[in-house]
């Protein structure tokens, strides 16, 4: 219907788009998607550097600009190639992989990145705890060294995919005697061991998208530590930045996202329209379109090598808009907005806003300003890191963790 007016900028890299397309064609000539075994195909694609083209050679990439990735993806798609089901491994692809790439050892990259990309190993994230949400650095899960292993005890929460995951990104306290940011260490935990218990965590929508994870003498070889002992805070910040960009930054066409079904209902149901709701819809439609443009601008900045802090803005706006639009949508629905699809406790494979009713979207969207960094924490980050406003007086940064009030 409407056409979005802006394309992302042209990338600059060692290989041109044409070169890359030629490589894919050559690969496909040697690996017919119709006859090659699915996993074998994915392994070969990884080995050919055509998995994530901006990764280094030898690790599934060609070391070229990430903006060329769509060239490869479109060509593979057009040829009917099997996919790595990225929707099933969002944390693996979106957070674990960049963290491993940035902070892992050469051996870890070799060991983990390939089965991660192929989808053979799903990853999850064990960060938040009941007592450590916004204040992640205050977490209490302990990891104690025992020979070549670490022994882990504690409770984690808000873990999506934990029941399907082979491995987890874990931050644990290895030294309670130093200030809290200094006593953390980052690990990759094998989820298939007796010390790991996963329980579904039911949420406002009625379903359980997340889990609680109880760790009781769970063991991690020291070889699976990511970064140095005591460097867990720095490593986890790298992970969280990727999370925020991935939550707020999806590329959509005009009227994509949450506004789509509100606009559709508006057009299809003239009997629901009121002047007051019209004004609200126009404001929301405008804000959603402008947020989309801001997202395009953000990705252009990233592509041009000007990584700005606008990612935090994008997530703030995304959360607010999802909430306001879904709130509007339920009100627009009127009598139908008083109903709900199903309260049955289920375990979905991820949040899908768009396939369900407005009531679901309304409830689920409330999580958007909490998960992946609350809006309050993002405002702190913007205020301090972008605007350079002074930190508040702090009482928790110079005291050993064990002596903090809880």
């Amino acid at each position: 219907m409407l056409t979005g007016g802006v394309q992302e900028g042209r990338p600059a890299g060692a290989l041109t788009a044409d070169d890359l397309a030629a490589r894919v064609a050559q690969f496909l000539a040697g690996h017919d998607p119709a006859t090659t075994d699915r996993l074998a195909f994915l392994h070969a694609r990884f080995d050919a550097g055509l998995a994530w083209v901006h990764y280094p050679e030898g690790l599934g990439g060609l070391g070229i600009s990430r903006t060329l990735q769509p060239v490869a993806d479109r060509a593979f798609l057009a040829a009917g190639s099997p996919t790595n089901h990225p929707e099933r491994n969002g944390i693996g692809l979106g957070m674990a992989a960049p963290t491993i790439l940035a902070c892992g050892t050469a051996e870890q990259k070799q060991r983990w990145l390939k089965p991660l990309w192929t989808g053979e190993e799903i990853w999850c994230q064990l960060f938040s705890e009941p007592g450590a949400g916004s204040d992640l650095a205050g977490l209490a899960t302990r990891a104690v060294q025992d020979g070549d292993d670490w022994v882990v005890n504690g409770q984690k929460v808000w873990t999506s995919s934990a029941h399907m995951a082979r491995r987890a990104l874990l931050v644990a306290r290895t030294n309670p005697d130093v200030p809290k940011h200094q006593g953390l260490t980052y690990f990759a935990l094998d989820m298939r061991q007796p010390g790991v218990e996963v329980r579904p965590l039911r949420q406002a929508t009625g379903e359980a998208e997340f889990n609680e994870v109880f760790l009781t003498d769970a063991r991690i070889p020291d070889a699976d530590r990511i970064g140095g002992v005591g460097d867990g805070w720095q490593v986890s910040n790298a992970t969280l930045m990727n999370e925020r960009v991935s939550i707020g930054g999806a590329a959509l066409p005009r009227e994509g996202g949450m506004i789509a079904s509100a606009a559709r209902t508006w057009r299809e149901h003239p009997e629901l329209r009121t002047p007051g709701l019209h004004d609200r819809l126009l404001r929301l439609w405008t804000d959603a379109e402008v947020a989309r443009l801001a997202g395009i601008r953000l990705r252009q900045q990233l592509a041009a090598g000007q990584p700005g802090p606008e990612g935090s803005a994008a997530k703030l706006v995304f959360a607010r808009l999802n909430q306001e639009i879904s709130e509007f949508e339920v009100e627009l629905a009127g009598q139908a907005g008083l109903l709900y699809g199903d309260w049955t406790m289920r375990r979905p494979e991820g949040a899908n806003f768009f396939g369900r009713d407005p009531g679901y979207r309304f409830l689920r969207a409330k999580g958007n300003s909490i998960e992946g960094g609350t809006s309050e924490i993002l405002r702190n980050i913007i205020a301090e890191r972008v605007l350079g406003l002074p930190k508040e007086p702090r009482v928790d940064t110079d005291v050993p963790w064990k002596d903090l009030p809880r």
């Binding site: 929460v157 406002a204 909430q323 339920v330 009100e331 009598q335 928790d396 009030p405």
Partner: protein, 408 residues
């Protein structure tokens, strides 16, 4: 109990305004009533019980309703003593509604003791009021819960059979009303029917041809159902302007008391959140010591003070008209209509905002099924649609306050 003006004293210098005089404070009677209702609800309807009930296919709490009826006279609060009720005022009913909102109680107070009662009072149907007064039977007005009182003319069920045979006669009703509140437990169903003339009809839930289809509702503490009538025997209660006034009276009173419920809900959300942020520590500080949180809660408190004034004003205005000798002939007047529109639009927005802040400021825990925050959100959202949205009530104000829309 005595009526409003007796309690509130002489308005003094301005006799012209005495009809609408009144206090916006809570009187002693109301404070005592509140204590009684609150301790009863704390005891009989704590959050774990509400949560368990939300998961059952029929989520009304009949036992709680009977206890409220027996213990504080909730069922017959707005029914005169001559009909076996408590003869209370809307000021007291509002306090009950506030407490029910606070506690997320799943009882048909709004549908039976407010809406059906006000409709029957306006229709002068004393015998039916007497049936409702004790709470053994409950009533409902068969209109979609989203209907605003201003839409009263459009809320009719079709007659398929013959027309009523005599002025107080019976007839057969066929049709469907979708998404009715407090209809699941109701024995007495008051149906606005499109006979000529327009009339209000009584259908007993046990009659042959009455079907109730429970609905999976956003707010399972006020579970909606579809009502199906298939050639059901119906008795005429009122016709023409009287019937229309009765339906309007029920819906207007309902909207006013729903505003009170929203006020109670908002207050509870604020209390709960203030307590939580005092307890919860992050960064080795109480979360409630962070200024951004403090300012948001201060703003929410300010909003609640505004909602409280609006809700009290509506209760007051309803009380005055309801106590008037000519209520049956006059229904609720323009003052009450303005007051209810102000209250429902204000309290809808404030309750929703309070519930949303509650979820956000509780962080993850408020998003879990185990915590009550999400149920406050669901009830606040459903209440904001029920009996007319804020938007619909503001449109009413455009008319009542002579602020015409563009093009008029």
């Amino acid at each position: 109990m005595s009526q409003l003006t007796d309690q509130r004293g002489d308005p003094g210098q301005q006799p012209q305004a005495s009809r609408t005089a009144g206090s916006l404070l809570y009187g002693e009677t109301e404070n005592e009533l509140r204590s009684a209702v609150r301790s009863l609800l704390d005891d009989k309807s704590p959050w774990p019980a509400v949560r368990a009930r939300m998961e059952s296919p029929y989520s009304y709490d009949t036992e709680l309703w009977h206890t409220l009826a027996a213990g504080v006279g909730a069922a017959g609060l707005l029914i005169g003593e001559q009909h076996g009720g408590a003869g209370g005022s809307f000021l007291e009913a509002a306090v009950v509604a506030e407490e029910l909102g606070r506690a997320l109680a799943a009882v048909p107070f709004l549908g039976s003791a407010v809406i059906a009662t006000a409709a029957l009072s306006a229709a002068g149907a004393g015998d039916l009021l007497a049936a409702l007064a004790g709470g053994e039977l409950t009533g409902t007005l068969a209109v979609p819960f989203a209907a605003a009182w201003s839409a009263r003319g459009d809320l009719t069920v079709r007659f398929d059979g013959p027309q009523p045979r005599d002025p107080a006669g019976t007839c057969r009703l066929t049709g469907t009303v979708s998404g009715v509140a407090d209809a699941l437990p109701a024995e007495l169903i008051l149906v606005p029917g499109d006979a000529v003339p327009f009339g209000l009809y009584l259908v007993r839930a046990g009659e042959h041809g009455v079907g109730k289809q429970p609905l999976t509702s956003l707010d399972m503490t006020r579970q909606l159902c579809d009502l199906h009538f298939d050639g059901v025997l119906a008795t005429q209660i009122a016709t023409g302007p009287t019937a229309e006034r009765a339906v309007a009276a029920g819906l207007l009173a309902g909207a006013g008391m729903l505003a009170a419920e929203q006020l109670g809900l908002a207050e509870r959300c604020l209390d709960m959140t203030v307590s939580y942020v005092k307890e919860r520590r992050q960064f080795a500080r109480q979360v409630g010591s962070f200024q951004a949180i403090k300012h948001r809660l201060a703003d929410l408190w300010v909003a609640v003070t505004q909602a409280r004034a609006a809700a009290r004003f509506a209760a007051n205005a309803l009380a005055v008209d309801y106590a008037a000798a000519d209520f049956g002939a006059a229904g609720f007047g323009a003052d009450a209509q303005i007051a209810v529109a102000l209250a429902k639009s204000t309290c809808s927005d404030v309750a929703l905002r309070a519930a949303q802040e509650t979820i956000q400021l509780h962080g993850g825990i408020g998003f879990t099924w185990e915590h009550p925050a999400h149920q406050y959100l669901k009830r606040a959202k459903a209440d904001s649609i029920g009996l007319g949205t804020a938007d619909a009530h503001r449109s009413e104000l455009a008319w009542l306050a002579d602020l015409p829309k563009a093009g008029d």
